[in-house]
Amino acid sequence: MIDIVLIFLALSLAFYVLFGGADFGGGILEVGLGRYRNEDLRRIISHAMAPVWEANHIWLILAVVILFMGFPKVYTEALTYLHLPMMAVLLGIVARGCAFTFRHYDTFKATNYRTYSRIFAYSSLWTSFFLGATSAAFIIGRINPQAQTYSGLFLDPWLNPFCLLVGVFTVCLCALLASVYLMGETSDPELIQIFRRKARSASIGSAVLGPGIFLAAQRMDLPLAAIFVDNVVSLLCFGIGTVLLFFFRRSLYAPPPMIAARVYGVLIVTLVIVAWMFAQYPLALRYAAESGEVHLTFYAAAAPESTLRVLLGSLLVGALLIFPSLAYLFKVFKWQTLEQEEQKKVPL
């Protein structure tokens, strides 16, 4: 029972990264647009995100609900000891959602437009960074309820090299996702070339950061490499992901519509998420060694059976409602480029 609920939790988180993360990526790409054709790029990003970003965002809410209903201790511990980065995430979510909407509806003056764009871009970067850092704090094992100082209680759990590196890594992954998705949103070869370059930088960034993360974990007494070796799935994901990275680099130079590159890009990120989840399982939260606490597993944190049964039922019904409607949403608004769409509208 617990495992099935965990699968739903994992799915919501994975979807949040794959879809919501791409929306963050859209903002991250806007941070470094440069001057060349930046308005066109912005238009594509806005156009791609506008109909779907709110739906994509709700995967996070679903994950939070599963957490506090199914595993309340994980939720309350995290929101106590990790409240600072979590609040940073919330701040970012509010800022970027509002800025994006306001940019869409309130663009009568150029100065407003620039302000909204800037807030949207930087808060996307900020939010994805803190999301990464926060999730890394669950596994690194620096949470210490016995600590006596403010920094020991609330800063050390996440303000460390490992978490910060994972934060940057998350930013790269989001940018990677966004650039491969966006390649399919336009048929302008120049713009595709720009997204291609962004995808390449993002993939190089994540490839460089990967070993750094393992190293940082090792230095902080988390034998991440050993965990990966012990865990068949994680190891497999890691191996396949590394191989795919090479294929991905090659496929980037293929002519549009670049389906291979897009599939590889999404696969790589998916593998990273899966590897991560299996490396973490069944632990929900690792405490600092000096705290003397037993690491919190999902099994120990789980709500009573009667609750889980009802939660699972609700999730199943929810899935039956959500997936078909989501499929319809994507069917209507994806699978055609901005230019194709505009051509369609001209005859009017």
């Binding site: 965002h57 309340p72 309350t76 409240h83 979590m86 509010v94 306001f102 709500a303 949403l329």
Partner: protein, 442 residues
């Protein structure tokens, strides 16, 4: 400022902010769909313009509401971890459903907003309506959870721990039904009068026929809601009288336990002297309203230990504001419907439109006051009779700091949203003028 007070203020502020957006998300899509329906039916361009203008409002408010709602789902844990530890497994289910409804709402809104000329008109219309249906559903689910805090059920309480958890019984607690209906009707009433009032005001200023069409649609919704509300409110109060006699006593500023209790209108409760000064008293009316019997016994505050009293003055005054506004709006609704039916010229006349323009903020004021009654009236409990608010608050330091941060950000958001709505109205005004000029030739 100590953690408890800061946390309570932060929660009050966030909820007070979010409830405005939630109410708009519940009612506005129905107004939009009504106008959309009229457009599809008549093909008149003004209804299309109106539908689009309203849907932009829905989109802006939905986005801000969605992100502030996300913040709330974290805030519960940030501020009240011990409450969530206990409540999560018991009352998490309606939240899971709310998440689902919210999801569908976001999907339907995406299809509606960007689906003009891209999806078949019928599906397009249904998607707009679904935004509202999902909004109503999520509202009801969240209120189930709030009702549970007023009337906890679905578990056995022993030695400070919950056993035999039954999430269904928790969700369908005694408070949920009337509280939920009360709030849904209130949303239609508040949003309806706000939209009516706004368009009345705009019509008075610019004399565009578009505004008259808009306010006619909105007024029908608000008037019907305002006429239903006193009845629903009465059932709600009866339910409070049965479950939380202490809250009822505070609402009424009623200190003495007595048979044939009078209804106390207005006045200022003085907790030290245990009397409510300067009030109008209607003999036996409270007994009748609360229990349907002029001689029924109504418990007074004095019957309960003083440390369990909520802040009586706040609850009483908030309740008076809510009921006062509700009564006034019901009268306006009745009169307006009659005018619409019998005297359409007076309905569109300057004097009546001025009356309507003045109602713009009233419904929302009543909603805020009503939530003050529910939430402050439950104090000192966070879960009535089970857990005190003071015992649920987080132990981490610095809540006052986050409170300041929230105030700053939400204040900024309110300012920006107001500004944007102003510009949207200016835009609508331009379009409406164009339409009126074109229409002149036909």
């Amino acid at each position: 400022m100590d953690n408890l007070l800061a946390a309570r203020m932060q929660m009050a502020f966030s909820l007070g902010f979010h409830i405005i957006f939630a109410a708009i998300g519940i009612a506005m899509p129905f107004l939009m769909s009504a106008s959309h329906y009229l457009y599809l039916r008549t093909g008149e361009e003004r209804y299309r313009t109106l539908t689009k203008a309203w849907s932009k409002g829905v989109a802006i408010f939905f986005a801000v509401g969605a992100v502030s709602g996300t913040a709330l789902s974290f805030e519960l844990g940030l501020l009240w971890p011990k409450f969530m530890d206990l409540a999560g497994p018991i009352i998490g289910m309606p939240f899971a459903w709310e998440g689902t409804a919210f999801f569908l709402e976001a999907i339907a809104l995406g299809i509606f907003l960007y689906g003009w000329d891209r999806v078949p008109p019928r599906i397009h219309w249904v998607s707009g309506l679904l935004v509202g249906v999902a909004g109503v559903a999520s509202g009801l689910f969240v209120i189930c959870a709030n009702g549970w805090m007023n009337s906890p059920s679905g578990f056995r309480w022993e030695n400070g721990r919950a056993f035999d958890i039954d999430p269904w019984a928790a969700m369908f607690n005694k408070a949920a039904l009337w509280q939920g209906i009360h709030m849904i009707v209130a949303s239609f009433e508040a949003v309806g009068f706000a939209v009516t009032g706004l368009h009345a005001w705009l019509y008075l200023k610019h004399r565009l026929p578009l505004h008259l069409s808009a306010l006619r649609i909105a007024f029908v919704f608000s008037a019907v809601a305002a006429l239903i509300q006193p009845l629903v409110g009465d059932f709600s109060a009866k339910s409070v009288a049965e479950r939380q006699p202490l809250k009822l006593a505070a609402m009424e500023g009623h200190f003495e336990t007595e048979r044939g209790a009078p209804l106390i209108i207005g006045g200022l409760p003085d907790v030290k002297r245990e009397v409510t000064d300067w009030a109008i008293k209607i003999p036996k009316a409270l007994s009748f309203l609360a229990f349907g019997d002029f001689d029924a016994e109504v418990k007074g505050l004095k019957d309960f230990p003083k440390e369990l009293w909520p802040p009586v003055a706040i609850v009483h005054i908030a309740f008076q504001i809510m009921v006062g506004i509700g009564t006034y709006l019901a009268a306006i609704g009745l009169l307006g419907l009659w005018l619409m039916w019998k005297k359409p010229l007076i309905f569109a006349g300057t004097r009546w439109l001025k009356v309507l323009a003045l109602t713009t903020p009233l419904g929302f004021l009543a909603i805020e006051a009503g939530w003050v009654v529910t939430e402050v009236g439950r104090q000192p409990w966070i879960i009535y009779g089970i857990m005190k608010t003071a015992d649920a608050v987080t132990t981490r330091p610095g809540v006052a700091f986050t409170l300041a941060l929230y105030l700053l950000i939400y204040g900024l958001l309110i300012a920006v949203v107001t500004l944007i709505m102003k510009r949207q109205i200016a835009l609508l005004h331009r379009e409406g003028k164009q339409l009126a000029e074109e229409g002149g030739h036909r």
